[in-house]
């Protein structure tokens, strides 16, 4: 097969292909209702409210969580004083009708200083906020009188979505779009523009408004500069609506093979031997074992952006292996030897590790999930508790991202929230401990990776450990009440035990290096030595370690290296920005997170803008809506463009680029300058909103 051969031109215009290019899939949305809490000055989940979805046919999909928890989800926000419960609609009815009513029961007051008052008016998207409303007596805030029932409020809604664009002459060779490309999105006739930023990075959280009974359609047109290397007739553009699992393409619904793995098991039950789907068991292997070939199969399908997911998957499976090694958890969680008085084989790093995790800043990883797991589409947010409002803590981000990642990839944690609070020591149940332990492990990993290049002294695990010294630990239940040390193997019920077991595995085996003087952390059943059992040989094979290095270590190092500030929460590139709607949406609003969208994608044409003759003299070019001035040069030049508004209240941007690789992106109506060489095609794009006019007023060409 030659890479560029088009072997069946007779099928290019086949009717079935043409129709498939416009294939659509149902839209599923995720909804969250939030309310402005004047007591905490924060948006918080709207507690215990019945939310009815009113379809266009008048039928309602009602209000309470079903027994399976699939239509509705309940997530308890952390913090002992916050009674809010966030209820989410996981799946809308078909028909893409977004007519909602909020028919509220009373919000439990809890410790909220105020309650909520709903009007019964239809509020367009920009006036949803109740921030400025007053209660009886003109009391400021968002109030409703005690005991009053809610009125009925009907909301229009918005949708946040993200695109990850790739293009290819052939589907097999997808290439990320360059930076600076403008995406025009037409939603119900309203056109929006957004731009790709960094090379290959997705456009995130493009939010638009929709009104009740609107059908939401996306029409995407892409302006691709003339590029002789692109065979436009054969061009395929893939649009990935979120980078986790959902692949919606123009005319294509691509399901990476890895989806098969993910979707084949809806949840992990501790003690359930059938962790892995049957097809991933090597023939004749003991149930639950993982072969090198299996891992290779897993990772071979992981795109670079999915490596961290692959890492999560790896650890999920790794943990399962070690879950079976009860000795590890037995020791770590304080088994008989601990109870007998601190044995040398107990991993004493526990307190130090524990100190790294600041649970006072806990949050909630709100991971929405399609009702049907097989569709495999997820979108998530990290919702930080009030203590994090001033600035999300990095540890929290890591922790909650891990939840999101876990949920995305494999583990359905939606039904497993035994209490609003939990801790490293919480003795809950195996499934919950596993879920939280994994997230804590990831936080540990990011915060204390044992490599001086990637963490500072503050979070150096060994530093903390040596300064704090080993301390006895106290087992507490999920309410924080002390419990007796667990019996043997009670580590199954303790999230910290799982976290530490995973960390031990990481340090000893995956990272593959123990610092001088440092003992191995993973110990065999009772003899205090390292794991030597034949059953664990697979984790020590060079191939497995190579996988770990490539797909886990490198990915994590890269992520950590790229994200060193606390406010960076897209560390995993899979977490929608915290409360992305906060800046746009009102105090009471449903936040829609797309799970999958109905995209009648089509590309009408790959247009180029009007071209101004090369080497044109400085002059004025008035462009009513948008336009492009394109210039070429016979010698090196620097081209400077300015733009100005013609009509007030216009938003516009001027972007200069050369040969599709971004040179300069300026903010609205700034100037743009770029250098072009003889083979460059420099372009200046002026984009103006639909109501405004602007023009490029000056073009200076300077030979350089």
């Amino acid at each position: 097969m030659t890479s560029d051969a088009i072997v069946r031109p007779d099928l290019l215009d086949h009717l079935l292909r043409a129709e498939a290019m416009k294939a659509t899939v149902d839209c599923e949305l995720n909804v969250r209702f939030q309310v402005w809490n004047p007591g905490t000055l924060a948006y918080e989940g709207l507690g215990r409210v019945n939310v009815d979805l009113v379809r266009s046919d008048g039928l309602r999909e009602s209000g309470e969580t079903d027994t399976n928890g699939k239509l509705w989800k309940t997530i308890n926000t952390p913090g002992p004083n916050d009674p809010f419960v966030i209820k989410k609609i996981n799946k809308l009815a078909d028909g893409l009708d977004f007519h909602f009513e909020v028919v509220g029961d009373a919000v439990q007051s809890g410790t909220l200083k105020s309650k909520i008052w709903y009007g019964s008016t239809y509020y367009p998207i920009d006036t949803w906020s109740t921030r400025g409303w007053t209660g009886p007596g003109n009391q400021a805030g968002n109030f409703r009188p005690s005991g009053a029932t809610f009125g009925e409020a009907v909301f229009s809604v918005g949708v946040a979505y993200r695109f990850d664009l790739k293009y290819s002459k052939r589907p097999a060779h997808m290439t990320p779009f360059p930076a600076g490309l403008t995406i025009s999105t037409l939603v119900n006739g309203v056109e929006q523009f957004s731009q790709t930023t960094e090379f290959g990075k997705p456009v995130t959280n493009v939010i638009f408004a929709a009104n009740p009974e609107d059908d939401i359609e996306f029409e995407m047109s892409l302006d691709i500069e003339e590029d002789s290397s692109i065979d436009q007739a054969a061009l395929t553009v893939s649009i990935v609506t979120n980078s986790a699992q959902s692949y919606l393409s123009i005319g294509q619904l691509l399901n990476p093979p890895i989806d098969t793995l993910k979707n084949s098991k809806t949840e992990l039950l501790m003690g359930d031997a059938a962790l892995l789907p049957p097809q991933f068991y090597p023939a004749g292997a003991p149930e639950g074992s993982i072969s090198e070939a299996v891992l290779e199969e897993m990772f071979s399908h992981a795109a670079p952006s999915e490596k961290l997911c692959a890492a999560a998957n790896f650890f999920v499976r790794l943990a399962e292996q070690y879950r079976r090694l009860s000795g590890v958890l037995h020791h770590i969680a304080g088994g008989t030897q601990m109870r007998g008085g601190a044995s040398a084989v107990v991993w004493q790093g526990l307190p130090g590790i524990q100190a790294l995790i600041d649970f006072s800043h806990a949050g909630v990883a709100e991971t929405g999930k399609s009702k049907n797991l097989a569709s495999g589409r997820y979108e998530s947010q990290i919702f930080f508790g009030p203590a994090n409002i001033a600035g999300p803590r990095l540890t929290t981000t890591y922790h909650e991202s891990a939840h999101a990642l876990m949920n995305w990839y494999y583990f359905d944690d939606s039904d497993n929230t035994p209490g609003a609070t939990h801790s490293f020591h919480s003795m809950t149940n195996p499934r919950f401990a596993y879920m939280e332990g994994f997230a804590e492990f990831v936080a540990l990993l990011f915060m204390s990776i044992g490599d001086a290049r990637y963490f500072d002294a503050q979070y150096n695990w060994r530093t903390v450990f040596s300064s704090g010294g080993p301390r006895p630990w106290v087992i507490v239940d999920h309410l924080g009440n002390p419990k007796e040390p667990p019996s043997e193997q009670a580590g199954f019920d303790i999230e910290g035990a799982f976290a530490l077991a995973l960390y031990a595995v990481w340090v000893d085996i995956v990272r593959g290096a123990v610092a001088p003087g440092e003992s191995r952390h993973v110990i065999d059943q009772d003899d205090g030595g390292e794991i030597t059992g034949a059953e664990n040989a697979w984790v020590k094979t060079p191939a497995i370690k190579a996988y770990a290095g490539t797909y886990i270590w490198d990915a994590i190092c890269q992520a950590v290296g790229a994200s060193t500030i606390e406010t960076t929460i897209d560390i995993l590139q899979k977490v929608t920005e915290i409360a992305a709607s906060n800046s746009r949406w009102g105090a009471i609003h449903p936040t829609f997170l797309t799970l999958s969208l109905k995209f009648p994608f089509d590309i009408d044409a790959l247009d180029t803008f009007p071209v101004v003759p090369s080497n044109s003299s400085p002059g004025d070019f008035e462009l009513a809506q948008q336009g492009r001035i394109q210039c070429t040069a016979s010698v090196n030049k620097t081209v400077l463009m300015h733009a100005e508004y013609i009509s007030p209240n216009t938003t516009a941007s001027l972007v200069g680029a050369a040969n599709s690789s971004i040179a300069v992106i300026f903010s609205a109506m700034d100037q743009s300058q770029l250098a072009i060489t003889p083979n460059d095609v420099g372009t200046f794009d002026l984009r103006v909103d639909s109501d405004g006019h602007a023009r490029i007023v000056k073009q200076a060409v300077q030979v350089t």
Partner: protein, 244 residues
């Protein structure tokens, strides 16, 4: 009568399941060819995960010619074909029951699978089983008989014996053998091997419309797990580029 077994000199081939491409000697523009058919082709995603495709064919309302709608179904690849009549359980991921119109099942030939795995993009699953749900059984039987008739005498006699419990008696004609095996194919008891692109049936007519409309649903399995449904949409859209 003789026919080479499918295993010798076999050439994998891919075709769309409906609407034949222009004949080899067609000289005009390919787009014109398809457009002059004036077929109103509908395609809708269905199934629990949008992995099924409902396909309808009708003459375009504003058609300017009288070229009839050809609802012939084609084997997308080579492989064995069976028909499962109304009420029978179709071997499939969800073991669905055949509707009254019946289901054609194409078991993709291994060499085609291997070829797809080599030629398809990494994220396009190779087809394993292809289900044409909703066929005109009378016409399908007639179409399949053409293929059944190409089978070797030995195979037909073996089928006869499987069905009757004894070898064909004296006086049994070749047509008898063909008819019986074809009946077995139509009952899901036997299969006939076809090359990719071979006509294997005809979509059922939709009785609910006054306009002559044909309708069938295409399902297929594929990917690393042969018992998982996959969407054929990527295959439709990428088909011209698959170097099979």
């Amino acid at each position: 009568m003789s026919s080479p077994p499918p295993f010798t000199g076999y050439v994998p081939r891919f075709e769309m399941p409906v609407i034949a491409p222009p004949p080899a000697n067609y000289q005009g523009a390919l787009l014109d060819y398809y457009q002059q058919l004036e077929i109103d082709l509908g395609l809708a995603m269905s199934g629990p995960n949008n992995e099924f495709v409902d396909i309808t064919l009708a003459k375009a309302a504003n058609a300017t010619n009288s070229i009839p709608v050809d609802a012939t179904l084609f084997a997308m690849t080579g492989g064995f074909v069976r028909h499962y009549p109304n009420g029978t359980v179709v071997p499939s991921p969800d073991s669905f029951t055949s509707p009254p119109e019946g289901v054609l099942v194409l078991t993709v030939w291994l060499e085609d699978i291997a070829t797809q795995q080599r030629a398809f993009p990494a994220d396009t699953p190779a087809m394993g089983y292809i289900y044409y749900v909703g066929v005109d059984q009378t016409q399908t039987s007639a179409i399949l008989r053409t293929e059944t008739a190409k089978m070797s005498d030995a195979a037909l006699r073996a089928s006869w014996k499987d069905q009757q419990g004894a070898a064909p008696a004296a006086g049994t004609t070749l047509d008898d053998l063909i008819d019986q095996h074809n009946a077995r194919v139509m009952m899901g008891l036997g299969a006939v091997f076809v090359d990719g692109g071979t006509p294997i049936g005809k979509a059922a007519q939709d009785p609910t419309t006054s306009v002559e409309t044909y309708r069938f649903t295409l399902r297929m399995t594929g990917g690393g797990n042969p018992v998982t449904y996959v969407s054929p949409v990527p295959i439709f859209t990428g088909a011209p580029y698959y170097d099979l």
